[in-house]
């Protein structure tokens, strides 16, 4: 048991580019790519996909595809030609995918998972698994790093808002503290935006990118808390749903 006066830290890292600054060997890293990789991963596991193999490059995904694997690949917010699946959560609510293994590569999300490979544990976060994830995190007695996937190594607002939502919830448990300003800024932005997340997002770069591609339904799904109450966790090379021991 954790002594009441010793708190774990919670830190927000705004992009994989900055992640080497954060010592992670003894921390749980939550990888966040709200639009849309980590929302899709949650959706897939929630709807019954057995496990997901994240790979960093389209080339790797093609290799797996040639060996008969079911593969999802997204670049520049669109499905890469020739692949079975893209990066829309709506594709994963499909009974045919139940029990399957999916190889998965996206513009930012899978790179972030790779960046965090030295961590004690890696889990996947989004608004769609917010409550169940925070409940689990609050009982691990570990320091936590919230790693935003960002956009091509730049800060993005949607991942920051999600990190803010997680930090906001964990702070309330009184089991966490922080030493860095990125956590405080994320919480402030989340508190500012929480009444209407989608409206707050309307000026953001990625929102505009997805809007042009008629992906408004995806955006709505990705910002709705607790639609996919599952904790995706990296076990070896695979992301699987966490099951209580």
């Amino acid at each position: 048991m954790q002594a009441k006066d010793i708190k774990n830290t919670i830190e927000v890292c705004f992009s994989p580019h900055s992640f080497p600054l954060y010592p992670s060997e003894d921390s749980i890293v939550v990888v966040i790519d709200v639009l849309r990789a980590t929302s899709s991963i949650c959706a897939a596991l929630h709807y019954g996909v057995e496990r997901i193999l994240p790979v960093a490059s389209v080339l790797e995904a093609r290799n797996y595809q040639s060996k008969g694997f079911l593969c999802a690949a997204e670049r520049q917010a669109q499905k890469v030609e020739g692949f079975d699946l893209g990066n829309s959560p709506s594709e994963y609510n499909n009974p045919k995918l139940k029990g399957k293994i999916i190889v998965f590569t996206t513009t930012n999300g899978t790179q972030a998972i790779r960046a965090a490979r030295e961590a004690y544990r890696i889990v996947i976060g989004s608004f769609v698994n917010l409550t169940v994830l925070c409940e689990w995190l609050s009982h691990q007695n570990k320091n936590i790093i919230l790693l935003c996937a960002g956009w091509k190594d730049f800060f993005n607002i949607e991942d920051t808002l999600c990190a803010g939502a997680i930090a906001h919830k964990l702070y309330k448990t009184n089991r966490f503290e922080t030493n860095i300003d990125s956590t405080l800024a994320s919480i402030s932005l989340y508190e500012l935006a929480q009444k209407d997340l989608t409206r707050f997002m309307e000026n953001s770069s990625h929102f505009k990118r997805l809007e042009k591609l008629n992906l408004a339904d995806d955006v709505k799904y990705c910002f709705t808390p607790d639609l996919a109450p599952v904790i995706p966790i990296l076990e070896g090379h695979y992301i699987v749903p966490y099951k209580n021991q």
Copy 2:
């Protein structure tokens, strides 16, 4: 003259570590280290220091000192032993410094200036020169990058608030646009904090660091707009006050 429908971009970079992601050869870079390097540089030039030579290391500063230069050096928020000056703006309101050259090294600020060395121009920003700087920037017809010095390559809140204040003012001129979320987040945080900047800052990491060192007066100075209405600009190796041609 700039066509009315073509806008320049304004982008916020949260730390020198991320700066290589920003193409800067054709941009004006504003280096911001509110607590306290860029506030002190503004104060120094405002009170009559002729020019400042920023150097990245204490060792370089010592070399200059041994050659008879007046040297300022700060590390971990404190004056380095054996130097003439530290990093408190209050030290620079001193008639004896009028017309002098000062060699200057600080924990974060001078590293940020170094990181921006490929930029079209480098100027120094803080709350203490906010209005005069924004007025000047708005007429340059150049893209602008607001480079936050941060804290040892981490995001910090005070530099972000200042970047937000600058972006907020420049947006109002209708001559600027942005493609990245860090600018929008900075503006949101500034708008949230502007009524009482010091109060908003009270939870921040650097504020606590300075408070422990009894530097509350410095903090107050650094957050008061327009106390040192000067535009420090890098000319060759030196920072000098910009003079209208």
